[in-house]
Symmetry: D3
Subunit: 331 residues, 6 copies
């Protein structure tokens, strides 16, 4: 029977300029919907898991469109609440070569950030679930969102689920008057899989250590629940050429995946979410050293697909891990 | 020498679905920039006047794009201020036949609504000007915006400019906790040209009278500064078929334009602004009965042009008034 | 609690030229997915009912895309089977004025037409259902499809569901060597709502009578299960201008809806399916004279929406019935 | 055996704004190729005749593209000469309702206007031909082009072909320092079918008579070769709504076609050429009163098709003459 | 005088997703027409040869569009037969980096596969011809198509033409119940130029030998008619980065072309056909070692051009062979 | 206070095929406006300078569109004259890999080439100016344009401005019957900054010396006004992969910038103009060794932006010089 994963987080509308147009040249913007946690849910549903995403969307036609977008990938939308408020947005222009890609966020005061989540019956949502995934973006949005995250994590913990937290620290998100260090450590303390680089560990756990393995050890010694810390290492050669590898620390070993060369990136947004989805899938279905390879391959394939979601199938990820059919013309 | 007109108001980004797509079908949105007052400035600049638009835009690449869009039509952007904040937005889907067009506004808390306008030296801005144009949208946005409007109107009045105010009452705009009747009468009391239907006069001046001419007389007897009250009458046969005429009350006569049949509307947004621009142009350059014909012809041509702005030339409007070259293939 | 409706039928990929391009000019084709019965399911799901569509799709990426398209509108895809075979297709060019629209079908030998439906547990599918809807397209496709239709109808009849059959006779579909009169009368004999014009009644029931009301009486006297016969009357003024009204015979009265003028049709495909969905919704929720008005209004709104599906909301249909907000700019 | 028609004239590249965009809004221009005479050749080839078009195009990739465009419709390109020079161009924006469509020509000094035609072996070209078609646009371009036209007409006359001349007088074309009255009468004097309205007859034959039938009689009494004079009458209700009928004077009767209502014109460019092609086809294959109906129906269908060429099939034109399948959905 | 080449084979409609969209994201599909043999004919016509393509297309508007597409490139369509049936199709999504491109074929039971070719008068078709080209795709389609291929080959052989056969073995094509080894050896036995890799030689000639040169020798010793065996070697670094070189065995020498690096492939479909066209052109006009260079350069240029056809001119191919003007901005 | 720069030169409309389409595949052309000198003005205005462009455009809607395009970037259009005549055009197809990009010019006899410039009051234009920039394209167009250039240079020289001349020798431009060596030396003799490679120096100054530094010394010894000679060195690996560096000779030192790798060029048109703008900016604001780095970085960023204009901001250029934020995702 398929594993069940629950995710919580905001879905945004992404408005992207065409090709390599700059914002000032844009007469048309492409519409995508996505969110760090919903992207994970979509990957897992695509790979055959039962995925339930908990969120709030505006009760207007734009919100409905976002909900349908999620639903088409087979993610359950039973826990999507339509409430008054605005849609979180971000505008993006895609760079090339030396010119960076740019994102302008416009997500303040969105319906989700004002969502208290009283309507969610967590017990029922987590029934039969194997994993709960949250990210550090949600508690950064508002006090209400931080409280909601904690409530969900505690309920998941009580049910004994695998709890996955992608720290994803972004300085300019934390605007509601609280230091991440007041909020994040408690959330992390219940979590079993932590996605975090050294900077995240510093900003959200106060661990001031540049050596990643040492920092991981320190985080784990503080928080017994943490079983895995993971991260991707990205080498930015240019806006359209990166190298990527994943690493996973399991309290004993630092497992490092193959390094992939990505010289003609189509869309890097959601690459990290594809990695996390791959890791959750991997940890639920394979050995942890296999999981990190699976996760990295998933992340790489995401870079070849427009939009925020990883539409690569299970077979495609597995083939890439094995090095089969790579870059062929499949008939 | 060309007349000079100053306008004050917010510029928004409009995101429109393609063709007759519904929001849930949109994979691409067309980008337009516009605002009731800026649209008037663009028309007047297009027709050879000196036009200065006073506004605030976000200090990011989206705000810059909006500023450049205005600048390309020859409106002076010297009084455009780039400040922190978000861009006001609206999403639109264009209906057809019995299906209405729909707008979803997302303009709350925009850079402009938080703009106090302390940077504006009104004396310098109004130097050599002939006319100042404001609309009832600005005071509806926020206390700051209402105060700014009053300050501008008073300065214009002190300089003896023709002051034009488009009442444009929209119930769901007035969200900052004040009744329009506390704010609008004072603004109107300084104005010489008022664009208002009976509903506007009721909501913004408290005149409870359905007969438009009687209501106009009552408004004028209250406010000695008002010399003209004007309005368009629109018959909605369907989303793509309207009839339109203009009417202008000059304290003595109700002048009514020809009625135009518009059976295949391309874009009706900005039709009212095109009318107001036409009327301001008309009152500055011709007899008032000619002005209402000119204004209505301008409004009609706007309905054939995509976007918020009326890109019809002076000659095109004049030709339509005269009934020349209508619907031909000009080589 | 929401009513539940089950539909059975093929989903095709529609490839449409852009704007008014002819096939020979097409460098791009728009992709839509639809099918007479699935379109009904989408309408009903959009209006809050539980809708389950039973079909087979090719087990490739095109088939998956069709399944996701259905899923996004909230139709249950639990009974969508992915089997070897090809996708049924149709190509369409949209006419204008005197030039007709044209469809080229390429649906022969599709996965669905070879689907025996052995996998379907009809008892389980019909559990809690209120209505089953089929059309005369399915039995026309192949012997297997005809047998499947009969099996489904019998199971629905045994459960006491309202059975709706849209006769939809098309001469060039019946290619598998059987006369419709050998197949259709039995299918119709179990059905309670029949969508049929006089030609359909002649070809599928052998009723040779031009007077529609008389023909309806004859059909009903033959088949006691039939409670309603309905039809739309369409006046083709041009490819882009039609008039439409619905009529419903309930064994006693011929109820006729308002006639709607549609002078600028966006997309007429799926107009009939929108009508049927409206009638099913109506018969499940209102008086039959109200149902025919609701159904016709739904059909009219469909003509303003690109693609095969009626994306009009319940409120929009109800407003059109009441004549409210027609052709306005809703803010 | 199929009839053979030879045409002579310039092919231009047409650059059209999208939808109803004005020139200043255009970020994309649609590319079409066409010319008054080549459009006639395409229609006739589409309807099964052998069509040979004589022209010169620039010897670069743009010229080649124009040549291929012609070739795809089965017009023989054996007499297309690639020579140094520029492509004739025209820019077009498509109006709507009261706003006129506009064309900006940029055809001066094109390769064709400098083409002397020495390479053409007219005897060989006209071998087996039934008809030669020229228009008044060619002699207007340059002295060389005028001489070439005369040479071709004389050769056609010597072979006893039906000679068709579309006068098509446009004041701003005649720029090479000659009055049309010095050139056109001789060209007309050899022609058997003249397409001309009263204005054309005045400007190109000096016939100063407003009554069309009287003017036709006068033209014919001057030039014995003329057997038919024809014209379309177009009523411009708006840029997107015209009415059209054809009339043909055969020295004895004025035959007038049905009047067609065209309320949603897709593209009116080439409508006149479609009419001329229809008339040539008609005069070669049917009675003259049937020919004028065929020609008008062809012209009407052209108005529903994007681009300069009439892509309607013989059957479609015949159906429209008979009033069959008009505005239907053909499956 | 130009050489004349005859080709025989199916033309398919290709429906390609935009950019790097996956099938499930496609709202628009680009339309191309192509076929392995027709692509060769187009190349050769583009380079000045007389090319005649023999095929059957559906007798509907889609078939006509395919015929016109071929005709525009100057290929003779006199031997294109329009018969009842469906158009062969294939759907394609273009990969990037590690993600492969994918093709879904939908060509079963096409008009061409049911075409017996009785209408073709091979003697007349081959009159004056220098070369006949066929591929292993045609005999794989159906018994009728296999018989037609043999008939054509025998007629070409009787006339003493250079016969070129591109083996192009694809396992999933041979569905009509026959082993390739029952059909292909006879077809090959009449052919002079064979395009085949080691796998093709194994599957279609039963030569079980991995060393390519040895396998070539073995094939030639079996079939005296074979004068040349050729192949391209493609190194798949990724979906968008390949390396390519050609090799040609002439019974004595293995001639190998330069290896080209192709790091940003635009469209690889038709690359092999461009190579074959280059080789035929080469063998008819230059030394065989020059031919393999010409052919490889042609194949490389094809990879930079959207669609199935190689639109590179003779000069462009020759320049690339010489290394001139490579990657410049030519003004 | 901002520096002021005046530029003189033609603006052309560029019509570019989409993606990598060849001219013969183009159904849509993208519209850009640009010109070597106007591109420099746009860069400088974007970076905060006051920029005035002197030119003539056709007095039609296309000319107006070109003027507005310039105006949107804040370049003063007070010295843009609208006169009768045609717009200069160029058509472009963008190559890929080994296939070169191609430009077809169609600029002969444009409005600008016939512009005598009598309307320009150079004294007033140069008031307060710091720099005047011209290129060798203008004198190549016509005698009138050559005279106008000289007049402007002399006036600038009299005012003591920094005069910058981009030699930009193109053989096929000089069509009006004069050798560049009769015209260019005088123009150069007044200039202080010369953009020229060895070929330019040979063709326009008669300096026959391949060693660039020696040639620079010779040019300077002839013309005392020249203080700087500069150039970019471009290595064409393919149409989409170049390497670029700048070099600047200041009578004493040859300063050479970093070499940039550009493996995925978006649009190389205007790269040289971006370099010149960077150098002018640099020489007005920084040391000359810094200027050449700034200029080269500006040129590199231009290659990532569609169209002729460099839309990179001052900060983006400065960041690239410092190697900061290169190819990142900026949030």
């Amino acid at each position: 029977m398929a594993k069940k994963v629950v995710t919580l987080g905001e879905i945004m509308m992404r408005l992207n300029t065409s090709g390599n147009d700059r914002f000032s040249q844009a007469r048309q913007l492409s519409v995508f919907y996505g969110g760090a946690e919903a992207n994970v849910a979509v990957s897992l549903a695509r790979w055959g898991l039962e995925a339930v995403h908990v969120t709030a969307l505006p009760d207007n036609a734009i919100g409905e469109a976002a909900g349908r977008d999620l639903q088409q990938f087979g993610v359950s939308v039973e826990q999507v609440f339509y409430i008054p408020g605005r849609m979180g947005l971000y505008f993006m222009e895609t760079g090339s070569m030396q010119r960076s890609s740019q994102i302008i966020y416009d997500r303040f005061n969105s319906a989700f950030s004002n969502f208290g989540g009283e309507e969610v019956d967590w017990d029922r949502v987590f029934e039969g679930a194997d994993c709960f995934h949250w990210t550090g973006i949600t508690p950064a949005l508002s006090r209400k969102a931080a409280d909601l995250t904690l409530k969900a994590i505690k309920a998941a913990s009580a049910k004994g689920l695998l709890i996955s937290g992608d720290i994803n620290y972004r300085r300019n998100l934390w605007n509601f008057g609280v230091d991440p260090l007041e909020v994040m450590p408690e959330l992390i303390s219940y979590s079993n899989l932590i996605v975090a680089g050294a900077t995240d560990l510093y900003n959200c756990l106060g661990i001031d250590e540049e050596d990643y393995e040492v920092a991981c050890r320190m985080a784990m010694s503080k928080h017994a629940a943490i079983k895995f810390i993971t991260n991707t290492e990205r080498n930015h050669i240019s806006a359209t050429h990166n190298k990527l590898r994943g690493q996973l620390w399991d309290r004993e070993n630092m497992m490092v995946s193959k390094t992939y060369d990505m010289p003609q990136i189509v869309d890097r947004v959601g690459g990290g979410d594809a990695y996390v989805a791959g890791l959750i899938y991997g940890l639920l279905h394979m050995r942890s050293d296999e999981a990190v390879e699976f996760a990295t391959a998933a992340a790489v394939l995401k870079h070849s697909i427009p939009g925020d979601k990883n539409l690569a199938s299970l077979e495609e990820v597995q083939d890439l891990v094995k090095g089969e059919n790579v870059g062929r013309l499949l008939r």
